[in-house]
Symmetry: C3
Amino acid sequence: MKHLLTMNDLTTNEILEILHTADSFAKGDSWSPEQKVYATNLFFEPSTRTKTSFEMAERRIGLDVIPFETGYCSTTKGESLYDTVRTLESIGISVAVIRHEQEAYYNELKDKVNLHLVNGGDGCGQHPTQCLLDLLTIQQEFGSFEGLKVAIIGDLNHSRVAKSNLKALNALGAEVIFSGPDEWFLNEETYNYKIDEIIESVDVIMLLRIQYERHLSLSAITAEQYHQQYGLTIERENRMKKGSIIMHPAPVNRQIEIADSLVECERSRIFKQMENGVYVRMAVLRKLLESQEV
Amino acid sequence: MKHLLTMNDLTTNEILEILHTADSFAKGDSWSPEQKVYATNLFFEPSTRTKTSFEMAERRIGLDVIPFETGYCSTTKGESLYDTVRTLESIGISVAVIRHEQEAYYNELKDKVNLHLVNGGDGCGQHPTQCLLDLLTIQQEFGSFEGLKVAIIGDLNHSRVAKSNLKALNALGAEVIFSGPDEWFLNEETYNYKIDEIIESVDVIMLLRIQYERHLSLSAITAEQYHQQYGLTIERENRMKKGSIIMHPAPVNRQIEIADSLVECERSRIFKQMENGVYVRMAVLRKLLESQEV
Amino acid sequence: MKHLLTMNDLTTNEILEILHTADSFAKGDSWSPEQKVYATNLFFEPSTRTKTSFEMAERRIGLDVIPFETGYCSTTKGESLYDTVRTLESIGISVAVIRHEQEAYYNELKDKVNLHLVNGGDGCGQHPTQCLLDLLTIQQEFGSFEGLKVAIIGDLNHSRVAKSNLKALNALGAEVIFSGPDEWFLNEETYNYKIDEIIESVDVIMLLRIQYERHLSLSAITAEQYHQQYGLTIERENRMKKGSIIMHPAPVNRQIEIADSLVECERSRIFKQMENGVYVRMAVLRKLLESQEV
């Protein structure tokens, strides 16, 4: 495997292998490449979690991370992403993690560069390491995916998470159902459950972040109305089945997608997901660096 | 000690212990934690000195520093400081240094996070490591604080330095007096000396930075008038007593608080203070990391 | 040698010595200072190549690099460059690489600071490590400079590269000729060749970057017209002599200075130049750190 750009790059076996490696890192295993490896993180959109998580993962496996300030680089002089990445390759970078607002930005890069690319999010497209950390969190909780019922709730249209997760969860044997405002639905074929119909039967509630500033302001609904109609209220959490868990990719809009007091409740795995993000990124980087394809 | 947020967190004995450790670092001692420790610096206000000084202190004791660009993180998407810090904790950060414009921002964090916080300045509130580096500079010069007379001069209202230093210097046995424009005075109880009354008798002149852009422009006084009435002119420096020193937290407004040519004169300890900043920060980090409280 | 500020700081022998060291790094040699050395990079203008290249060079010789965000430092509060550099020196920085829009910014620093300065570009002035990497690329290609004919083509007025390269290439025995729009010419004495007159006889075509946004928009010429009259078209590349090479400091304006498909053609050394940039910077840093002058 030369790059990790979308979940489609991974077979089900490769997914399970990455989860296995990640879990061993979670349990304290360590690994480092034999030679010095230089990495960099190009985040053209604001990020706390994903960027610091990749930085941490890179450091933990002993990579040397060259800083790259996207607000202060030559793309501001009109340089293309391709020329920027080829430049980094020329100075000796072997791994580039990129987040970019343009969907599928990697198509102009993937066959022409001689370093490893990891997609840290492309517009409303994919975010494969987020998907992998979600899978690791579910696997740690339930042991396997077979027969699990996972509800993905919220802004399906603009979510990188929903698209990546649906296919992977199905392939691993879980059932995925969706819920949220009609206008944000992926396509006509997806059935849109009411949250109150499903809250008592699902094993995993996976809430999506609302692009609050962009979308709620454009619709007739207020934040409070959203919370009551589509959000995870305290009342709904009480009705969740024994052993079921709550997930959210964060940053959370507290009191909109989820009641403020539930963010760190017993069922919540929100901060656990962030911890797992480091382990799956370590596992992905290891897989790329051990691969013979460069 | 879990956090260092204000000078009130420290007993007089703890202050002396930190100064002792810092002085041993100044003399070439070294120390590192036994395990890998990850730190990060969250500076929500511009800073050269304090930020690079913490970075240097962290590196010198062997910490791995994860970069954090505040202008490009999820707080720009509305994430709270609490959620940001909990995120960093989840990915494995053990020490967070924070500068934030909101006074006492740490109150919403200190009892709820499981990492060490160091306050790098909160609005017009506290700046404990600046206070400690001032104390170290005085102690190195005079051996002890007993009987010293320290004048703090300038913008007392907006100064993080004045508030932190007054109490600590008194506790250590020094006398502190104040001087500056009447309108910038802390409260009615503090006596406001004229600089010409005290210049010949004090051991330490501690000048404060004027928030020039904000305050001089609002008052009837010009920069030149300020310098003549309240600043350290060449003529006044000539009248200072033998062995007395000049301090300033910097950045200096040259020719306003202090004559340009005095910034690096023989009495000036301004750049010495910056050097000492690294040693006290190393000492503070060591104290936090050796503590059992996490 | 305490600083490297302009190519005039170097004798011809020193240039050859740096190229020799750089070439040994290119061939896999390594070197590190015996003691821990702290460096920082102050880039007050956007940069991808030069900044990441210095970062990489510093890491490769084992320096510890303290990050410095110029958009978020105390110069935004009015602090002078001198006070900023003295601050960095006080906290323990030994090497500062600076890019600044002000021509000859280093004159106010060079005799007063006790750290090593490396000029990473000053306005339209000098850019000595760019010159050195150009020289290394030519030397690797042709073995020596004696008798080579080098054409520098483009925006001579605003080019840091042209000024640095002319003198050094002449001193090393190469002939340098110029070509470009009349209005961008250095001075009356320089003869301005038409590109079609010289394309078949030169060993090196060194294209300069056009400050497109600033200059083409102000002139009567379009990008397409520039390319046809002054640029390296596919037709012209076909007429270049056997063994001759193409260079460009980048970022490239594709299809203006050079046809898009030529950027990575067989003659192009554009990405090779970037690779060599790391080696010459390693060699310069080594020379400064081995020097007794501090």
